[in-house]
C-alpha cells in the first residue's frame, strides 16, 4: 500500500508516520489542502528538509506542523513570527515557514506581522484565511466581512475587515500573493515563489470554516463553500479588466507584489562583517 501511496501522493513522504493521524481538522476543512500545497512546493524545490523549519501559532491552522517531517514548532497564539525571527537569525541557512490563521496573524499577532514585514525579515508567512476563529468556535476575526455573523457577532459584524495583502504590501513585505484552497495547484506554485524570494513573503490562502462560519451564515457544506471560492475568485489578469466596483466583490488571485530589497538578516550579516573587520583591523 505504501509504495502506491508514495507514488500517487508526493506529500506522503513528508508526513510523520507516527500515532498522530488522522488529522485533528474537521472533515472537509481547507487547512489540509494548504498543508498539501506547502509540501508540494518544498518537494518541487528539492529543499533539504533538515533545513526547513515550520513555525506556527495557535489555532486550527497552528496544528499544521505536528504532521510534517521538518523542524517544527507550535508556539503561542499570535507570536509565531517573533519566534521565527529568532530562529532565522540563529540559523540564516534555514528556510523558515510560518503558518498562521487570520486571527493568529492579524489580531493578537498584528503587531508582529507588520514589524516582520517592515524589517523584511527573511521568512515565508502563510496565512490561512477562513474569516473566523475556528479553533475557539466561530468568534469574529479581523478578516470577518462586515455584516456576516459569528458567535460573538450575533447581530452581524460591524467591524471592517483587514485587507491582509494590502497590509503586508504597505508594511514592507517583499512578496505578496493570494490564492484559494480550491486552486490548490496554483497555491503551491505561489508558495514556491514565496519561499524562493528572500525577504518577507506572504501568501494568503483563502479557505473556509464550514463548521462554524459556514453554519452560522448558512453557506452550506464544505463543498458549497469550495464552489463559492471557485466562482467568486478571479486571476489578476481577469481583475484588471473589471471595474473597481466589480473587483471589490471578488477574491483576486496571483502575485500581488514581488520586489527585491535587502532584509534584516542580510543587513545584519553585513554589520557582523564590519564589526569583525574593525576588531581585527
Amino acid at each position: 500500500m505504501s509504495t502506491k501511496l508514495r507514488e500517487e501522493h508526493e506529500v506522503y513522504d513528508y508526513l510523520r508516520h507516527s500515532k498522530k493521524f488522522p488529522v485533528m481538522w474537521c472533515a472537509g476543512c481547507g487547512i489540509g489542502i494548504v498543508l498539501g500545497a506547502i509540501i508540494r512546493a518544498i518537494d518541487r524545490m528539492g529543499l533539504d528538509r533538515d533545513r526547513v523549519a515550520m513555525v506556527s501559532g495557535i489555532g486550527c491552522t497552528g496544528r499544521m506542523p505536528v504532521y510534517v517531517d521538518f523542524n517544527t514548532m507550535h508556539t503561542t497564539h499570535g507570536r509565531a513570527l517573533a519566534f521565527a525571527t529568532g530562529l532565522k537569525l540563529a540559523r540564516p541557512d534555514m528556510y523558515v515557514l510560518v503558518v498562521m490563521g487570520d486571527g493568529d496573524a492579524l489580531a493578537i499577532g498584528g503587531n508582529h506581522f507588520i514589524h516582520a514585514a517592515r524589517r523584511n525579515m527573511d521568512l515565508t508567512a502563510i496565512v490561512v484565511n477562513n474569516n473566523i476563529y475556528g479553533m475557539t468556535g466561530g468568534q469574529y476575526s479581523p478578516t470577518t466581512p462586515q455584516h456576516m455573523r459569528a458567535t460573538t457577532a450575533p447581530y452581524g459584524n460591524i467591524e471592517p475587515p483587514f485587507p491582509l495583502c494590502e497590509l503586508a504590501k504597505a508594511a514592507g513585505a517583499s512578496f505578496v500573493a493570494r490564492s484559494t484552497v480550491y486552486h490548490a495547484k496554483e497555491l503551491d506554485r505561489l508558495i514556491e515563489q514565496a519561499i524562493a524570494r528572500r525577504g518577507f513573503s506572504v501568501v494568503e490562502a483563502v479557505s473556509y470554516c464550514h463548521t462554524t462560519y459556514g453554519r452560522l451564515n448558512r453557506l452550506g457544506t464544505a463543498v458549497d463553500m469550495m464552489r463559492w471560492l471557485k466562482e467568486n475568485s478571479v486571476t489578476l489578469a481577469q481583475a484588471e479588466k473589471m471595474s473597481p466596483e466589480e473587483r471589490e466583490t471578488k477574491i483576486v488571485r496571483g502575485v500581488l507584489l514581488d520586489r527585491e530589497g535587502p532584509g534584516y538578516v542580510d543587513l545584519y550579516e553585513e554589520i557582523i562583517r564590519q564589526a569583525r573587520a574593525a576588531e581585527n583591523g
Binding site: 498522530k20 505536528v66 517544527t72 507550535h74 525571527t85 529568532g86 540563529a90 540559523r91 534555514m94 508582529h112
Partner: protein, 372 residues
C-alpha cells in the same frame, strides 16, 4: 585582570558574553536599557545577533526561537515588560528551552516609579506564568555578583533546560563599583547536553538518568516537534495521563534533585545568633551593615543572604528557624519573600521590614527591627 569601575547592567552584559550569550532580543525599558545598548554594540564582533523587537512578548519569543536554533540567548526588561513576557516564560518552561530573562525591578504596580528601586516582582518571578512548573530565579546584590550570577543563570538554563530569571533591582543595576572580572578561561561555562544517538532515536523529551534530556538545535538533522501543549517524549501533543504525569514529575525532579547545585546563599555570624536577618538584592547591603552595627552593640545577630530566591532555600531557612528566635526580613516591597520565610519558619518567628515607595530600606530601619 585590571580593576574597572563598572555599573551592574554592564556587568550583566559582560557576564552574558563570557557565558556564551550570542543572541539578545529586547524592548527598551528603564532601568534595564543599558544591557540592550551594550549588547547591541558588542555582539556583532563576536558573531552574535541583536534585535530590538516591537515589544517584550516578541522579545522573549525571539529569544526562545534563537535558542532552538542553537544560540545562547537572553532578554532584559523591567516590571511592565516582565509581565508581558509571562506567557512565553511558561512556553519556555513547558518546552524546556534554555533562556535567560533579566528583570531589573522598578517600583510598581503599573508604570509606577520608572527609575526607583523595588523588589516587588519576587512573586511574579515565581508565579507569573500560568500552570505548575518549577523556575530558577537568582538575585545579585553587587556589581561583581551580577557578573557571576549572569554566568550562573546561563549555566543553569543550559544544564537544566529551563528558563532562568535574573532578578535585579535598580540600585544594583545602576550602581558603579570597582570590579575585577576574571579572565575568560577561568570562568566555568556550561553548554546544553548533546546526544550521541542517530536522529531516528532522538526523543527530545525522553526520561534520562539526570532528568534533563539532551537538546539538539534545529537544522542539525534531527527533525522533531516542539509544542507548548503537553507532549509525549517525542514532543507530540498528548492528553494521556500516563504521559502528562511523568513529564510533570521529571521537570520538577530536574530542579529538586539538584538543589545542592542550584541553591546558593551566604551566611555570616550565624552560629549562636538569636536573631537572623535574611535579605537579598540591594536590601542585603543595608541588612549586612545593620547586622554589623548590631553586633558592635553586642547583639547576637546573624546574616543570611539567598542568591537563589527560587527554588526557595527551604532547608537552610528551616535550620535558621530552629536555632534563632527570630528572623528579620527586610525587603523593598510590602512582604513577598517574607511570605516564604513565614511558610517555613512560622509567622510568629518572622519580623518584616518593608518599604515600597522607591526608597531603600536603611540600615537604621533594620537595626530598629533587630533591637525592637
Amino acid at each position: 585582570m585590571t580593576a574597572q569601575f563598572m555599573q551592574g547592567n554592564t556587568a550583566c552584559a559582560e557576564g552574558a558574553l563570557v557565558a556564551g550569550c550570542r543572541f539578545f532580543a529586547g524592548y527598551p525599558i528603564t532601568p534595564s536599557s543599558e544591557i540592550a545598548e551594550i549588547l547591541s554594540y558588542r555582539l556583532p564582533a563576536l558573531g552574535g545577533k541583536f534585535i530590538q523587537m516591537e515589544d517584550e512578548i516578541a522579545s522573549l519569543a525571539a529569544v526562545i526561537g534563537a535558542s532552538v536554533g542553537g544560540m545562547k540567548a537572553m532578554t532584559a526588561t523591567s516590571g511592565p515588560g516582565f509581565s508581558l513576557m509571562q506567557e512565553n516564560i511558561g512556553y519556555a518552561a513547558m518546552t524546556e528551552i534554555p533562556c535567560v530573562i533579566v528583570n531589573v525591578q522598578r517600583t510598581g504596580p503599573s508604570t509606577g516609579l520608572p527609575t526607583s528601586p523595588a523588589q516587588g516582582d519576587v512573586m511574579q518571578a515565581r508565579w507569573g506564568t500560568h500552570g505548575d512548573h518549577p523556575i530558577i530565579v537568582l538575585s545579585p546584590s553587587s556589581v561583581m555578583e551580577t557578573f557571576h550570577l549572569t554566568v550562573t543563570a546561563f549555566n543553569f538554563s543550559e544544564k537544566y533546560r529551563t528558563p532562568v530569571i535574573l532578578l535585579m533591582d535598580e540600585v544594583v543595576a545602576h550602581m558603579r563599583e570597582k570590579v575585577e572580572l576574571p579572565p575568560r578561561e577561568q570562568v566555568e561555562v556550561v553548554d546544553r547536553v548533546q546526544t550521541n544517538v542517530p536522529p531516528e532515536w532522538y526523543f527530545p523529551y525522553e526520561e534520562t538518568a539526570s532528568d534533563v534530556p539532551p537538546l539538539v538545535s534545529f537544522g542539525q538533522g534531527f527533525r522533531y516537534h516542539i509544542t507548548g501543549l503537553f507532549h509525549d517524549q517525542r514532543g507530540f501533543p498528548t492528553e494521556r495521563l500516563d504521559e502528562i504525569q511523568p513529564w510533570l514529575k521529571r521537570v520538577f525532579a530536574k530542579i529538586h534533585n539538584n538543589l545542592g547545585d542550584i541553591l546558593m546563599y551566604e551566611e555570616e555570624s550565624i552560629p549562636g545568633a538569636r536573631t537572623v536577618v535574611l535579605s537579598y538584592g540591594a536590601t542585603a547591603r543595608s541588612a549586612r551593615h545593620a547586622v554589623r552595627l548590631a553586633r558592635a552593640r553586642r547583639h547576637k545577630v546573624g546574616f543570611f543572604k539567598p542568591l537563589t530566591i527560587w527554588p526557595f532555600p527551604e532547608e537552610a531557612v528551616e535550620r535558621l528557624a530552629h536555632t534563632a528566635k527570630r528572623i528579620v526580613v527586610p525587603e523593598m516591597n510590602l512582604g513577598q519573600l517574607a511570605l516564604e520565610v513565614e511558610r517555613v519558619a512560622g509567622r510568629h518567628k518572622v519580623r518584616r521590614v518593608n518599604r515600597a515607595d522607591g526608597e531603600l530600606v536603611t540600615p537604621q530601619q533594620i537595626l530598629e527591627a533587630i533591637e525592637g
